[in-house]
């Protein structure tokens, strides 16, 4: 994968290339596994962002999390054109950041179109992947802490069997996270390991969010 091509993948995805450039990119991606994989990752990230529920969570539950993430609690709907500007390491960062967003701050992104004008995580364009992968996502840990607090405070409102199941599954995810982090530490440039870590982080946020929703519904 060369920078000449990889740097223009998001433009390709956005349909911003000329017809000739588009055809050239298609031909290149056809023969370049890494670019094809990166393009698939970009598409998955965009699809995940698009699939975020537009149902607003209980505001009292999430406002603190939004504050922690360092983003205004609500962004007015703006019919701006979808624009993605990721470099390859930023793609990984965006994937992890989306884990936070999809779990705790869905209202930050409108159902469509998606606008990510700049990287959601502060990662220099040529930063090594290690800076992205092992838990450097702004707000993620804090968002997890907040959601875990919601669950801890609300566990008395839930059936004990439900609490047990939630905690067992959170423990399963935590073990997977620990193993994934360890693997990334050992092979920081491994795209699979980084994306697997991001996906596992998302799973934890999703489950915590689900638990928080159950607490909220039982209140």
């Amino acid at each position: 994968m060369s920078d000449q091509w990889s740097d223009r993948l998001s433009e390709y995805l956005d349909g911003d290339l000329t017809e000739a450039e588009h055809l050239a990119m298609e031909a290149h991606v056809e023969g370049c596994r890494e670019c094809a994989e990166t393009l698939a990752g970009l598409r998955r990230t965009v699809m995940r962002a698009r699939s975020l529920e537009d149902r607003p969570p209980a505001h009292d539950l999430w406002s603190g999390i939004a504050e922690r993430i360092g983003t205004p609690a609500r962004i007015a709907a703006a019919p701006r054109r979808r624009r993605i500007a990721f470099s390859v390491p930023q793609l990984l960062a965006a994937g992890i950041a989306l884990a936070v967003l999809s779990g705790g701050s869905v209202w930050l992104l409108q159902p469509s179109p998606l606008t990510i004008a700049r990287p959601l995580v502060e990662v220099p364009g040529d930063a090594p992947v290690t800076q992205v992968g092992v838990g450097t996502v702004k707000g993620y840990d804090a968002a997890v802490d907040d959601l875990e607090r919601v669950l801890a405070q609300g566990r008395g409102k839930l059936d004990s069997a439900t609490v047990r199941i939630l905690e067992q599954n959170l423990a399963i995810i935590d073990r997977a996270l620990a193993q994934a982090r360890q693997a990334v530490a050992a092979d920081s440039a491994n795209l699979y390991l980084n994306s697997h870590l991001a996906e596992t982080m998302r799973r934890k946020i999703d489950l915590l969010r689900q638990a928080a929703t159950l607490v909220s519904a039982a209140s």
Binding site: L166, Y192, L207, Q210
Partner: protein, 289 residues
């Protein structure tokens, strides 16, 4: 328009409905069983205990069936509902098993502790349980099945399929999907269905095996990634690219479909359709630290 507040112990009530109306059912504990008929009407049969009531409400857009606690502790109500096949269904409960048979519209089901079994559905079909298995059969459209602590399965269905669980397996059998995503943290993933040209198939698990059925005529670019797992194929493949770590790619036919197979520490296996799954450790150790 409020139609009925049933204080009697048993209710058997039928209300007329019009195309475009959807059915919302919510209960706390018990069962919601929906079947379909050709009449434009919804029939509700219930036998609530003395602590519960069943309310049926109807507006221009929705027919609502709700159970309410009247006194005392939690109540359990089994609701047997017959609805037009075209009617969109929105069914929810807490300690609730949900069964749907014969629906041909969109379906949404959410329960906390309960099994979900749906046969039919068209359009957006979304089924969720925290502690209960979820199975979907004979549906088409955008299909989402989700559990936390149990298995999920989709059988004989088509469309865009997303199947997810944390501590359970995902089985996709006779699924004809152009976009298929199956994920688990601690469970196996099985896919048995055609791989369509231009389709996207993504399977990812942390601690489980992946078994993918691949027909001989399939055209797919296959990407395999694992950290501490294995790869097996019942037919020869020629790697087109290998990367550091256990990551490699190969092409089948024209390579039209994109297939991504990722298992952190399980076995990724390709088999021909109908081939028996290889022997698998049935005693899945949940304490796999």
């Amino acid at each position: 328009m409020f139609l009925l507040l049933a204080l009697l112990q048993q209710i058997d009530s039928t209300v007329p409905v019009e195309r475009g109306q959807r059915l919302e059912v919510s209960t706390y504990a018990g069962e919601i069983a929906v079947k379909t008929w050709n009449r434009n009407a919804v029939r509700v049969v219930a036998d609530p205990d003395s602590r519960a009531t069943v309310e049926i409400d109807r507006s221009a857009t929705v027919v609502t069936v709700r159970t309410q606690r009247r006194r005392g502790g939690p109540s359990m109500v089994d609701l047997q509902i017959t609805a037009p096949a075209w009617m969109a269904l929105d069914l929810s409960g807490v300690y609730t098993d949900v069964t749907v048979v014969g629906a041909r519209g969109p379906i949404a089901v959410e329960t906390v502790q309960g099994e979900v079994s749906v046969e039919g559905g068209d359009g957006l079909v979304s089924l969720q349980s925290v502690h209960g298995s979820v199975s979907l059969r004979g549906a088409k459209g955008s299909l989402e099945v989700h559990s936390v602590n149990e298995d999920v399965s989709v059988t004989g269905s088509s469309g865009e399929v997303t199947a997810e669980t944390v501590n359970g397996s995902v089985t996709l059998s006779k699924v004809d999907g152009t976009s298929v995503t199956a994920t688990s943290v601690n469970g196996d993933l099985d896919y048995d269905g055609p791989i369509r040209d231009g389709g996207r198939y993504t399977f990812s698990t942390h601690n489980g095996d992946i078994t993918l059925s691949v027909a001989e005529a399939s055209n797919a670019s296959v990407s395999v990634s694992t950290f501490n797992g294995e790869f097996e194929s019942s037919f020869p493949v020629t790697l087109t690219e290998t990367r550091k770590g256990k990551r490699f790619s190969f092409r089948l036919g024209t390579g039209s479909a994109q297939v991504t197979l990722e298992s952190f520490q399980g076995t990724i296996q390709l088999v021909r359709p109908g081939a028996a799954r290889s022997a698998r450790d049935e005693d899945h150790d949940e304490d796999w630290e």
